[in-house]
């Protein structure tokens, strides 16, 4: 069954092959008889010739430059591409046109390939490099990590998953605009001497502060944003818990500081961050195997760079690249 398309190419429609029921049983009965025939030398010769003939025919079918086979799978792929772009299946007419355009492109592609047009083309080179990278990635896809592997990985990268430290504190504020900066610092120092650590909050001993006096469970980043990258913000991170300290300078003036509580950057249980750890583990493993796969390939290559006068050579693997100007 065949038809000639408008652009002159022959399109052959072939019925898809289906496995026939009972075929496997038939084969096994036949195989006993075959075993007997196989013992005879003439049969060997005939069989070898037949195998060569079949293989040749098959090979030609696969490699015939002038034969374009459109499989149902390929049609489905064209349909999907269309649906992705236009949000629905193509109607039969559109599908026909899509196939025609695809055949058109395939013919030109094969002609171009025969002329080796892809050889010095940067886009083709990049695309093949990319395909090869995908291939390496597929071939070396890392397996699902064991619990022990995850635990080791987590312990090695614990800082990355740690929750930031948090401080709960109160402060007393001394404005530099009341009598100057030096005086504000002195006023703060004087008040500090009078403060007992049994007092955990004393805003009224200082000047009015336009923002809060009490902060509960704030992260360093938040403190820096509210008070600036200043000694006061640093003190919130470092000052001892349960006693008054200072004076510390902020973007607004001088402060006395009472740290009520501090949660150190906690290491969460692995179970709580397991998904993130697993994703990072797999990514790292993939990166490492990709590099290893490339290094294996690169071992078979020698890179020679020719400069003016001298020439050096070296291995192509990532660790030992040689180069000159």
């Amino acid at each position: 069954m065949g038809s000639v398309m408008a652009d002159g190419s022959n399109t052959v429609t072939e019925a898809p092959s289906r496995p026939r029921p009972g075929r496997a049983r038939g084969l096994s009965r036949a195989s006993d008889r075959l075993r007997k025939i196989a013992a005879e030398p003439l049969a060997h010769f005939v069989a070898a010739g037949f195998v060569l003939f079949v293989a040749g025919t098959l090979y030609q079918r696969q490699t015939d430059q002038h034969r374009i086979v459109i499989t149902p799978a390929h049609v489905a792929q064209l349909e999907n591409q269309y649906a992705l772009q236009f949000g629905g299946k193509p109607d039969p007419q559109t599908l026909d046109a899509l196939i025609k355009r695809d055949v058109h492109d395939e013919i030109l592609f094969r002609q171009g390939e025969a002329l080796k047009l892809g050889q010095d083309d940067e886009i083709v080179r990049r695309r093949i490099v990319q395909k090869m990278q995908f291939l390496i990635q597929d071939l070396n896809a890392p397996g699902e990590p064991t619990d022990a592997q995850l635990r080791t990985y987590y312990d090695a990268h614990a800082a990355h998953y740690a929750t930031p430290p948090r401080a709960t504190f109160s402060h007393v504020y001394f404005s530099s605009e009341k009598g100057g900066d030096v005086a504000a610092q002195a006023r703060a120092a004087a008040v500090l001497k009078t403060l007992s650590n049994a007092t955990t909050r004393a805003p009224n001993l200082g000047d009015p502060f336009p923002d809060l006096y009490d902060f509960a469970t704030y992260e360093p980043e938040q403190i820096y944003r509210l008070f600036g990258h200043t000694p006061f913000a640093e003190a919130v991170e470092t000052s001892p818990v349960g006693r008054w300290a200072g004076p510390f300078k902020s973007g607004y003036g001088w402060h006395l500081l009472y740290i009520d509580a501090r949660e150190t950057g906690a290491k969460p249980p692995l179970s709580r961050v397991r998904d993130a750890v697993r994703a990072d583990f797999l990514q790292d493993a993939q990166d490492a195997t990709n590099q290893a796969a490339f290094d294996t390939l690169a071992r078979d290559y020698r890179v020679v760079r020719r400069g003016q006068g001298s020439s050096k050579s070296g291995s192509a693997s990532s660790s030992g690249q040689a180069a000159d100007d």
Binding site: F86, S176, D214, Y218, R225
Partner: protein
Amino acid sequence: MSLRSLLMAAAFGLSAQPALAQEPSTPPGSVYKPAVAPAARRPFFGELHLHTTLSFDAWTFGTKITPDQAYRFARGETIMAPAVQVRKEQGIVTTDAVPARRAWPLDFTAVTDHAEYLGAVAQLDVPGSPFSKSPLGIQLHAGGMGAFFTAAAAVVEGQNNAATPDLRAAAAAADGWNVEMKAANANYQPGKFTTFLAYEWTSSPNNGIHMHRNVIFNGDHAPAPFTAVDSNKPEDLWKYLESVRRQGIDVLAIPHNSNLSDGRDFDWNMSDGRPIDAGYALERALNEPLVEISQTKGTSETTPELSPNDEFANFERFDHIYKGETKATQHGGYVREAFGRGLVIQSQVGVNPFKLGVVGASDIHNGLSTSDEKAYASGFGGIDPKTMLPTGEAARAALDMTGTSKTVRPNGARENDPLQYGSAAITGVWAEENTRNSIFAALKRKETFATSGTRIRVRLFGGWDFGPRTLQRADWVAGAYAKGTPMGGDLPAKPGAATAPVFLVQAMKDPDGANLDRIQVIKVWLDGKDYKERAFDVALSGGRKDDPRTGRAPGVGNTVNLTTGTYANTIGATQLSAVWRDPSFDPNTTAVYYARVLEIPTPRWSTLLALKTHLPIPARVSATIQERAWTSPIWFTPPKS
């Protein structure tokens, strides 16, 4: 949790602990109900206007940063900026990606890519994509600014042309809106970092007039964007926003660059040329409660021509449209005038269409939202000053030393003037917590302020019976909410005995930045078929007083060293506040009041970039600026007689 944190969390809800679970979105028509009192609202800073590689123009500039990377950068992560981008945009010679980290994390961010053919042009980075083989694709790949105009003409300014089917197919293949939604949702950390689903509607009638609006959704999903290709009339956009709300998703639109609208954004007329009527005014007020007052393409507060008595009106102007060719018509393009026109229209049709709160943003096109003066290098890009400082021709181009600003574009227009760009602005909101619901509610009630990029914190309340010592009470904020209105609201009804409204205003400097020069209250009031305006100094640093004859105070001084690019906080104040009673109040006249806070002079981005790259400081623009904050206004409407 300590006793203090427990007690405080119970009493004020002030804990900075991230909320654990994501709450369902507040539906349109309902009021967000927080667990804490208004007095517990905190200031959050964010970005509401940012482009990535999915915007057609950003791609042509060389941007490769994705929405996901843009969000991660905004919340303080180190991201790797692709080498091809920093090579093209910053002139940095590298084959490796360059690490970039924001100087301080933002609290919230909306990536607002151009919705027209979202992601289509970025399909050129997908090898073998059909778009890369299309005629427009090939031309774009060839690069240069010519490609930008080809893309812009096809995407925004032209309706249907030969490239339309290819662009449409490429946008479908890109699936950009899903990419945007996924990136926003993946980076939302309730309590710590809020993201909004958002996009830019890029209406550009007459080849470059900005009628653009950013559309911001509340929630984790939203229907496909309504684009300028669908219609370039705001009235049609509002119909779409209505339909979105009917689907249970709250949404608002924010106009920007009214300075480049050639007088159209706050025109007296509707799109069809007829005068604004009550229906239009209602729709507009409902759909567009906010306006972007400042961004890299200039500040839209006012100009010296519109406000000749405002000595600080000449700030970061960007006043040429048609790509640098023509001066835009000023009337109808600036926010202060819109406040006045709103009162005039209200007196005629009964509704104020321009009852606008203010926000600030970057409109940066390279995916890196920065707002510090030293993290900017003109044009479309934020930079990390530690790793991405522009070099060579890129630095010279930013400082207008290459003659490119005189280059005539393929369509006959001039380039934008690189020195007219200003570093980015940001939005401040007063909200209960850092979540989508809470911040969106703050945007809707206009409890917002804009700054020219620094973290000035400012509060404004209006009422009738605030005594002169109000601000000395520790609980004054609770009282102000109870007896008055915060910025963005209407003054409560005037008690019979009251003679004038009283405003409470308090500002704190950026804790890492410059001291404050002053706080002003700008009053705009109805005067027949026109409006009048006046700026009052309500708090001055250093004990200065207004000269009673001129009504002006002596300047704060200038400590900027133009050799080192530094300044000293030896002048100005770390905080300023005032209880201000309107001395010229007329109970029969509608009026608008907003506060403006000025910093002491600091070096402008162009000065800092010149010093860093050992190039001359440009003489054509001011070497220093007074960064500032603007609050949303408070309105007074006399009772109907």
